[in-house]
């Protein structure tokens, strides 16, 4: 057997002049999101804390919310209100949502006190806030989609509030079809996309380093230089 002598004529090797959109996307992903960043074997030393678990637990809760929601949507309100298994899955859906928001709030606390928007991570923070806000609206549309008196009570009381914001003309909480469609399709898909972007941004930039106090020497030097350039001093 002889080794292949040349590259087949049909193979084109993209060079620096590759100006296709596919090439641009590929170069962007290779530069910003190599597999070693997407699936790292180990995390930095400072990630060894339970505080970093809150985000993952929130995502896990969301998986349970979506899974139980798919089952509920498949069988319908008669099942989730009457049948024993339906009531169990309905409760699982409800309590998964409670855990989702509980751990999302804890994740928010942890990242806030770490100032996790540092070092170019502002987009990660902003998208995270968007995920939280969209999830809140998703939860609200869920409360008015229960198909019981509780849902009617919430919807009728919320109608005045929504009208007061001016959104009542296109966001009608008394329209079950609109609320249910938003709850099971539009908003979960939006949450999923925004959450995927959030996680991608975390993987691209990495986990933010903890805030470290300045070393004693640095602090003294900073104080000295700071006094020389303070307001009122000579430029």
């Amino acid at each position: 057997m002889s080794a292949p002598s040349s590259t087949p004529a049909t193979t084109s090797v993209p060079g620096p002049a590759d100006t296709t959109w596919a090439g641009a996307v590929r170069r962007f992903l290779e530069r910003n999101l190599p597999l070693t960043h997407l699936l790292p074997s180990r995390q930095p030393f400072f990630v060894g804390s339970w505080v970093y678990i809150f985000g993952v637990v929130a995502i896990t809760s969301l998986v349970w919310v979506v899974g139980s929601g798919i089952v509920l949507a498949s069988f319908g309100p008669g099942w989730w209100h009457i049948e024993a298994m339906g009531r169990f899955v309905n409760s699982m859906h409800f309590w998964s949502v409670q855990l989702l928001f509980l751990f999302t709030a804890l994740h928010l606390w942890g990242q806030y006190f770490m100032a996790s928007w540092r070092d170019g991570r502002a987009p990660t923070w902003i998208v995270g806030v968007l995920v939280f806000l969209i999830a809140l609206v998703t939860g609200f549309t869920g409360y008015v989609s229960q198909q019981n008196f509780d849902a009617q009570w919430i919807a009728i009381n919320a109608k005045d509030g929504i009208n007061a914001t001016g959104a009542g003309s296109f966001f009608n909480v008394l329209d079950f079809g609109q609320m249910y469609g938003l709850h099971v399709a539009v908003l979960p898909a939006t949450v999923a996309v925004a959450l995927a972007i959030h996680v991608m941004l975390v993987r691209i930039r990495g986990v933010v380093k903890p805030i470290e106090p300045p070393a004693p020497k640095d602090a003294a030097a900073q104080a000295t230089s700071g006094s020389g350039t303070a307001k009122g001093g000579k430029a």
């Binding site: 960043h37 790292p40 180990r42 995390q43 930095p44 339970w50």
Partner: protein, 53 residues
């Protein structure tokens, strides 16, 4: 389940006992997460997911 929750009033702060319990639980979990040792926490500082700033 059919009875209204008990509310606590401290001046302008009005909160139901269930809500207060949830908030206290969250604070407790947060403090525990800060203080509890993390299993398998490796002692080498300069390894892992290192990337340029």
């Amino acid at each position: 389940m059919d009875t209204p929750a008990t509310y606590l009033e401290l001046g302008f702060i009005v909160i139901s006992v269930p809500n207060l319990l949830v908030i206290l639980t969250m604070v407790g979990i947060f403090i525990a997460a800060l203080l509890a040792p993390f299993p398998g926490h490796h002692a080498i500082e300069e390894d892992g997911d290192v990337r340029p700033e």
